[in-house]
Amino acid sequence: MKRIYLDHAATTPTHPDVLAAMQPFFSDKFGNPSSIHSFGRETRSAIENARGKVADLLGAKPEEIVFTSGGTEANNFALHGIAYANEEKGSHIITSAIEHHAILQPCKFLESRGFKVTYLPVDKHGSVDPEDVRKAITDKTILVSIMQANNEVGTIEPVEEIAGMVRGTRGEGRNVYFHTDAVQTVGQVEVNVDKLGVDLLSLSGHKFYGPKGVGALFIRKGTRMVPFLRGGEQENNRRASTENVPGIVGLGKACELAKNELDSRIRHLTPLRDKLIKGIMNKIPDVVLNGHPDQRLPKNVDISVKGIEGESMLLNLEMEGVAVSTGSACSSGTTEPSHVLMAIGLSHELAHGSLRFTLGRLTTESDIIYVLDVFPGIVEKLRKMSPTYKKGG
């Protein structure tokens, strides 16, 4: 049975070089990096080596990188860490309506603890307007958190512009920090913390061919933070817990590969993405492309198909060996479709009819041709049984 994986925004296969780099750190080099003996010293140096590679990819200093258990922890750490370290300065946080739940849920929690959170709207392409951010900043604002690219519709946000604008409001005792969730961008597009002008940045290893269970938070030197995990002196007192040495080594390797391969990855994915978008639009009527027409992740194709529910398309593609994802409610186990699709202004029906293809380094042109071959028939079959689809209507 043919199997084509087009769900790289969910997770990616660990790169063989990453796996090879990790291998010795399970049984062979197993020491606790906090131990003073040679077993500990060899893993300590492996961690510092990996930290250097992560820093190198981001254009950061090694001491500005804190390893975490993944993107979710990095986001929680950023929000809680800034909120509770800067409470006396203010209690206002600004974010967007289309952030990942790992941002939105901690924000909801902070609201229940007395913080105020502004959720900025996005336009129909999923873009945040930097002007909206500027208008939302008050004397009480301590943090702005806007994702670098959306995981669902693939829109790349004007983070550089927003960060620059946030920095411009500083002075006279006011110091608004800027965080970006870069889980969907690191290893996929250029991410440089100085160019972007961010104070904090979250990343996750398994989204770019690293292992699961490891990520990092970049914290610019001088940023006022409190730890999220307490109980040890690891990570320079910023994150307690015995280090996930194999994971960290794997993340380091994934960052090294990303740095070396970034241009070729973008050159590989962009034409495949465009071929898939164009092919779907040409072969199937009444389909809309969700997200931005050009400010878009090279791997992302997110569409809504009129008259059909997303999960039914997903299952049919699955039967043809193609793995994708949907923002339809029925698949996520809630009644509401994706908050992202609602925020870009889709009707409920179109939001329930969404399908996300995300490409990766092993995706081939013949994979795309195969999808374009089987997908129109699936849509036709499902539209025939749809009570809502009227041709051209």
Binding site: S312, L315, C330, T335, H348
Partner: protein, 144 residues
Amino acid sequence: MAEGYSNKVMEHFRNPHNVGEMKDPDGTGHVGNPVCGDIMEMYIKVKDNIITDVKFKTFGCGAAIATSSMMTDLVKGKTIEEALKISNRAVVDALEGLPPRKLHCSVLAEDALKGAINDHLLKTTGKGLQGWKPRDEHDLEHGH
């Protein structure tokens, strides 16, 4: 299989029975709404109080399509009274179960059938199904 669906569900999803529209149906049921992502239409032909033919159209997930298909199988050839006794639970059992969070989809099939019978009774006797009104099953299930 995906979503924890049984083989029976996937069988009905892959090749749903009785799909399509019906010319001059004796009763039509239309339930669901786009907000919740499930819309179902069921059409019945009735002769001498027996449901001789049934068809459906569904906008919905795998569970919604499979339950519609199974419901049409179960009611075909039954009297109105027998058909009314087929609960969503019976449909789910016939499908060898549904994942818990998909159970609400099976309520839709029961409602679509009752809607069609109600429509038929209204047309023929001037009185609808006693005590029946279309419900928004998603409100009941999720309390939002």
